[in-house]
């Protein structure tokens, strides 16, 4: 019997959407051979099944086990290249997604993988940093710090031991691209970290992966083993030691100094900077800590040159950004595009408008510390500078759309409660302020709020912004304040507001 080869994603979200059910139903079928790939990121179509046809891959969407005869018969498929959601993207870091098997090192190399590392070996450490300088790559974790500067600091310090640490503590709600990289293209992260190790002279690396991502940690461990067996971790005169370390549930551990504290096994408490980790990080040694997506962006830069990267995007925000659509859009999923599209364009073109029955109310960009935008402010370009000028953040690229069902007072309370839960306790304004903020919002929620409460909340916000060491306390007031700014009437509906009117 002729066997039909079918491609099915093994990504956690694909499985949650039902891909596992398909695999269970079809694994024993003699007429199919299942290849478990990463996901294209078009999650609204998952579970999605692909097969090779004469003119390339065709896909079937939202598949159930009963669809097998249709797929094997080649009936009703859509050419993947004709999918507008994917066709309009510029896939660089996510080029392999949905195509290759995550742990097939040969497939990674066939698709151009390890070319960046080879290029790096032919350059001096200084020249690698210079290439990054030319590329104008900024850290993708949220702080958007120029990557080359961090590397240069670590490179110039003499030390017998240096470290490379991948920040895989992707805690911003609404973000999942790091998880996708680790589960779907793990060698890309390894390659980026190896290039960094070569540039700064590091001998050890850690991937600090959050507890909530067991599949990502598992895949990375397998990939490291494969890279080790293939000799990729052998440097000229020493082996590069790379290890996955799993955290234990703390949002603040995504902040680099807290992450390093946690990596040493302590409470994940934020430390004052300087010294910066690049000077004195893990165990007091020079340490480059960068986000997973940042490391995953680096192989292409070395393979294609810094100028290639600098030509993408806008002047201050070069390259592509992985935007992650969620909430009440019709088409949630991963969108990799050069910086510069407006928020409205992204929501219309890729989000496909609102989900059935939903009317747009607000969109939050940048996770739980990101600002809320009403309809009238959607023409802001997606780039670091425009967001900074608006007092907002792009953060790690999470975009969550809320509809008319969303209670803004409850949402604001949720943000303050989140900060109160996650505050590491180091800075008083964050530790105490978030609790007081939550209490004020609970008072408003119960109908006991007064106009003074909103003033108090605003004062509290200013104190938190100016007197917190890290972005948790410093940014926590923004989603609350933008909710009040744009949806103030919902906050002023309490009995005490009414009695004064």
């Amino acid at each position: 019997m002729k066997m039909t080869r079918l491609y099915l994603s093994n990504d956690t979200s694909s499985l949650a959407a039902g891909a596992g059910r398909l695999a269970d139903a079809w694994n024993e079928r003699p007429e199919v051979q299942l290849i478990r790939t990463s996901s294209r990121g078009a999650f609204f179509l998952e579970p999605m099944v692909e097969r090779d046809m004469l003119n390339g891959r065709e896909a079937w969407f939202n598949v159930t086990p009963e669809d097998l005869p249709r797929i094997v018969g080649g009936i009703g498929g859509t050419p993947v290249t004709k999918l507008p959601f994917l066709q309009q993207q510029t896939r660089c870091t996510f080029a392999n997604f949905g195509i290759t098997e995550p742990l097939a090192l040969d497939a990674y190399q066939m698709k151009g993988g390890m070319k960046g590392l080879t290029a790096a070996w032919n350059l001096s450490p200084q020249a690698i940093v210079e290439e990054l300088h030319i590329s104008r790559l900024r850290g993708r974790g949220g702080a958007a710090f120029p990557v080359w500067k961090k590397w240069q600091v670590a490179q110039l310090i003499e030390a017998e031991q240096k470290y490379v640490v991948a920040n895989a503590d992707e805690g911003d709600a609404g973000t999942y691209c790091d998880r996708m990289v680790m589960e779907g293209d793990p060698f890309r992260l390894i390659e980026g970290m190896l290039i960094c190790a070569r540039a700064i002279g590091a001998t050890r690396g850690y991937i600090y992966c959050r507890y909530e991502y067991p599949a990502a940690a598992r895949t990375m461990k397998f990939a490291i083993q494969k890279a080790l067996e293939a000799g990729l971790l052998d440097f000229d005169d020493y082996p590069f030691d790379l290890e996955v370390v799993v955290g234990a549930g703390s949002y603040v551990c995504g902040e680099e100094t807290a992450l390093l504290e946690s990596l040493e096994g302590r409470r994940g408490v934020v430390l004052a900077k300087p010294p910066y980790p690049a000077e004195s990080g893990l165990y007091g040694k020079p340490t480059v800590v960068s986000n997973v997506l940042t490391f995953a962006s680096i192989p292409n830069i070395l393979a294609k040159g810094g100028a290639w990267h600098a030509a993408l995007g806008t002047e201050g925000s070069c390259g592509t950004m992985a935007l992650q659509l969620g909430g009440r859009v019709k088409q949630p999923g991963l969108v990799e595009v050069p910086f510069g599209l407006t928020l409205r364009e992204v929501l219309d073109r890729f989000g496909g408008g609102m989900a059935i029955g939903s009317r747009f109310k607000a969109v939050q960009v940048g996770g739980p510390l990101g600002s809320l935008f009403p309809e009238s402010q959607l023409d802001i370009p997606i780039c670091y500078d425009a967001f900074a000028n608006a007092g907002a953040i792009l953060g790690h690229g999470g975009i969550v759309v809320y509809d008319q069902e969303t209670d803004m007072v409850e949402l604001a309370r949720h943000f303050m409660a989140f900060t109160a839960d996650e505050s590491c306790g180091k800075c008083t304004p964050c530790r105490i302020g978030s609790v007081r903020g939550r209490e004020i919002l609970e008072r408003i929620q119960s109908g006991q709020g007064t106009a003074e409460d909103l003033i108090l909340l605003s004062d509290l916000g200013e104190t938190m912004k100016t007197a917190s060491l890290c972005a948790l306390g410093g940014r926590a007031p923004y989603p609350v304040e933008t909710a009040i700014e744009h949806f103030g009437e919902e906050f002023r509906q309490g009995a005490k507001f009414a009695s004064r009117a």
Binding site: A16, E212, P214, A248, Y251, G265, R266, P368, V400
Partner: protein
């Protein structure tokens, strides 16, 4: 602690040896203990401190800091409902209330027969197919509140 817990604890602590030159990694040790016993009993703190050459306060400090380290055993099945923003936007709150009503305990509690422990969790990165409910190791996406009874039926 049961006799079995005690031997599991001793084994987990033995696996942390030799202590690394940079000092003991308390978090790693506590995760190892939790992996062996299902939780970290507070009564084990003195023994852990002694094995790691740390103070009891240091152990208790790390144990209380991380939300995924638990000091009590869970029921046979651990239900965790995501509270991330995408789940909130997609009626995750309603899903949580439906589960709460169905199992009859509040967040952080275990049902009397020991079948379920209910918890809320921070974003699990499943936002594109939210709302999300995690039961043991299984992640369920696009959960609808009316599906809760049949979903939980699979976990006896």
């Amino acid at each position: 602690m049961t006799t079995r817990d005690r031997s599991g604890l001793a084994e987990a602590l033995e696996a942390c040896r030799p202590l690394p030159p940079d000092g003991p990694n308390i978090l790693k040790a506590l995760l190892a203990v939790q992996s062996a016993l299902g939780h970290v009993p507070p009564s084990a703190i003195p023994q852990i401190a002694q094995a790691l050459g740390a103070t009891e306060a240091q152990i208790a400090g790390v144990l209380s800091y991380y939300s995924d380290l638990r000091t009590q055993s869970t029921g046979r099945h651990l239900i965790r409902v995501c509270t991330g923003e995408s789940c909130m936007a997609n009626q995750g709150g309603r899903v949580f209330r439906a589960i709460q009503d169905h199992v009859g305990v509040a967040a952080g509690r275990t049902t009397s027969e020991g079948r379920f422990t209910l918890e809320q969790m921070s974003c699990v990165g499943n936002c594109a197919v939210s709302p999300t409910v995690m039961i043991d190791e299984d992640l369920h996406g696009r959960v609808i509140h009316s599906d809760i009874p049949s979903l939980l039926e699979h976990y006896r």
